[in-house]
């Protein structure tokens, strides 16, 4: 049976003092919060290699005198900015890879222009990713490279790798990549073909506005925004918490518009027909058979991912034809797995362990 210790008056006094100090700090730093600019993100030095349409290919400047032979091309998700993988020094996956001795490139996206509303999966997965692969090969003088895709960037990487398995791909690493869209239940329900007229939406908007993309992510966790604001107030005294909150909040709200053609194809062929999981997807006239991917393959997924649930990511490992393939399930959510404290401790070293001996 448990018993309660006698009350420690000294501990209570110390706690009251601490809470009083925090209350004062909340008030003082709260004013600073509203008057200071958001923390800088994506500061690792890089050079623009190519800008074409919505694609932006960057080359991060190496910081180690000796590099692994095989460069890494990161393919970012189409709905969000790439700086989630380069938030701040010490909290940057890109910086981590550079320090381990990798040569790192990133393919990220700008919002499509109104005249680019026709761009579709073939443009993104085959043309833009293909262009970036060629640019990396030309810039490094190496035929081989590792493709590393995050979320929808992982899906684009898988499609490219399945269509062109013989174009120098050495390794394929993807994070939280959806393949079974029937398991993305809320998105599938919102896009229910009995009610959702995707053609009308695309004809009206051309490109799907970022507000719709942002709202659809936000609706998955309707209480998160209010709870997040209350936690921010609670932790306003803690500079590290506030900085981290502002960076993640900025990134979450910094959604990108999607080209109408891409949105229509994803809705019809993935959300309605689930063709990627059935190996029935055809992109740019090429059948996408994930079994044609035979290079070493790593899929890192999050146990508590509310955007791409576990059921949507799980079948990918079985569909890929590689002999060397691995799935790592880590605690965390869709974003924290890539950029949170868990990422620093678990995910980044796991990726390094997988890639180091396969990058020589």
């Amino acid at each position: 049976m448990s018993e309660t210790l006698p009350i420690d008056v000294g501990a209570i006094a110390s706690r009251i003092q601490q809470e009083t100090q925090r209350a004062i700090q909340r008030a003082v730093k709260g004013v600073g919060y509203f008057t200071s600019p958001a923390p800088a993100v994506g500061c690792t030095p890089k050079d623009l290699v190519r800008a074409r349409g919505p694609m932006r290919l960057y080359h991060y400047r190496p910081i180690e005198p000796e590099l692994y032979r095989v460069p890494i091309l990161i393919v970012m998700a189409t709905t969000n900015r790439g700086y989630i993988l380069d938030l701040a020094p010490g909290q940057s996956f890109v910086e981590f890879l550079l320090r381990q001795g990798y040569d790192v490139f990133m393919l990220e996206w700008e919002a499509p222009r109104p005249d680019e509303k026709h761009l579709d999966l073939a443009d993104y997965a085959l043309d833009f990713v293909g262009q970036a692969v060629g640019d990396v090969q030309a810039a490094t003088g190496e035929t081989n490279l590792t493709l590393l895709g995050y979320c929808a960037g992982g899906m684009l990487s898988c499609i490219y790798s399945a269509v062109y398995p013989d174009r120098g791909l050495k390794n394929l690493v993807v994070f939280t990549t959806p393949v079974d869209f029937t398991k993305m239940e809320l998105f599938a329900n919102w896009a229910d073909k009995r009610f959702f007229d995707v053609d009308r939406m695309v004809e009206t908007f051309g490109n799907i506005p970022p507000e719709i993309i942002y709202a659809s992510f936000d609706m998955l966790r309707p209480a998160a925004k209010i709870a997040g604001q209350l936690r921010l107030w609670d932790n306003m005294w803690n500079d590290e918490f506030v900085k981290s909150y502002r960076m993640f909040d900025r990134w979450g709200a910094d959604a990108l518009a999607l080209p109408g053609g891409y949105f229509r194809q994803v809705t019809r062929e993935l959300l309605w027909e689930n063709r990627l999981a059935k190996n029935e997807l055809v992109v740019g006239g090429h059948p996408v058979d994930l079994g044609r991917i035979t290079v070493p393959f790593l899929h890192v997924v999050a146990e508590h991912d509310h955007i791409v649930p576990r059921g949507a990511t799980a079948p990918l490992l079985g569909l890929v034809g590689s002999a060397e393939k691995e799935e790592i399930v880590l605690k965390g959510g869709h974003v924290s797995i890539a950029a949170g404290a868990n990422a620093v401790r678990r995910m980044w070293p796991a990726v390094d362990r997988f890639l180091a001996r396969r990058s020589v």
Binding site: E3, E66, A139, T140, D192, T204, M219, P222
Partner: protein, 117 residues
Amino acid sequence: MAEQPNLDPLGLWRDMLGQWERGLNSVANQAMGSDEFSRALHQVTSLGLRMQQSVGETMDKSLRALNLPSRGDLIAITERLGRIEEVLARIESGMRPADGEAASGPRPARTRQPPSA
């Protein structure tokens, strides 16, 4: 075993906040997963899209009557500017020194081995 009394005055509030968040998300997710929600969502969306289309068409006609450029005209100009930008980018990339050699000297050797090797 003896229990230390809880000295965190906001601890209970934090626990309640976490429970409230999980509970509300769960209830809302259940509601949003229903046919009724999906139907209602698309009725509202459809109404919004119809309004947007009709406002767009009216605006187009009005701008044309006033001899002002419409959204379509601006998109056409943006398209041409985009093509010019792409040509400039191609010219610029042709003039740039080979990647890795710019300002920073020779490229690092690509001979690194994994730590255990």
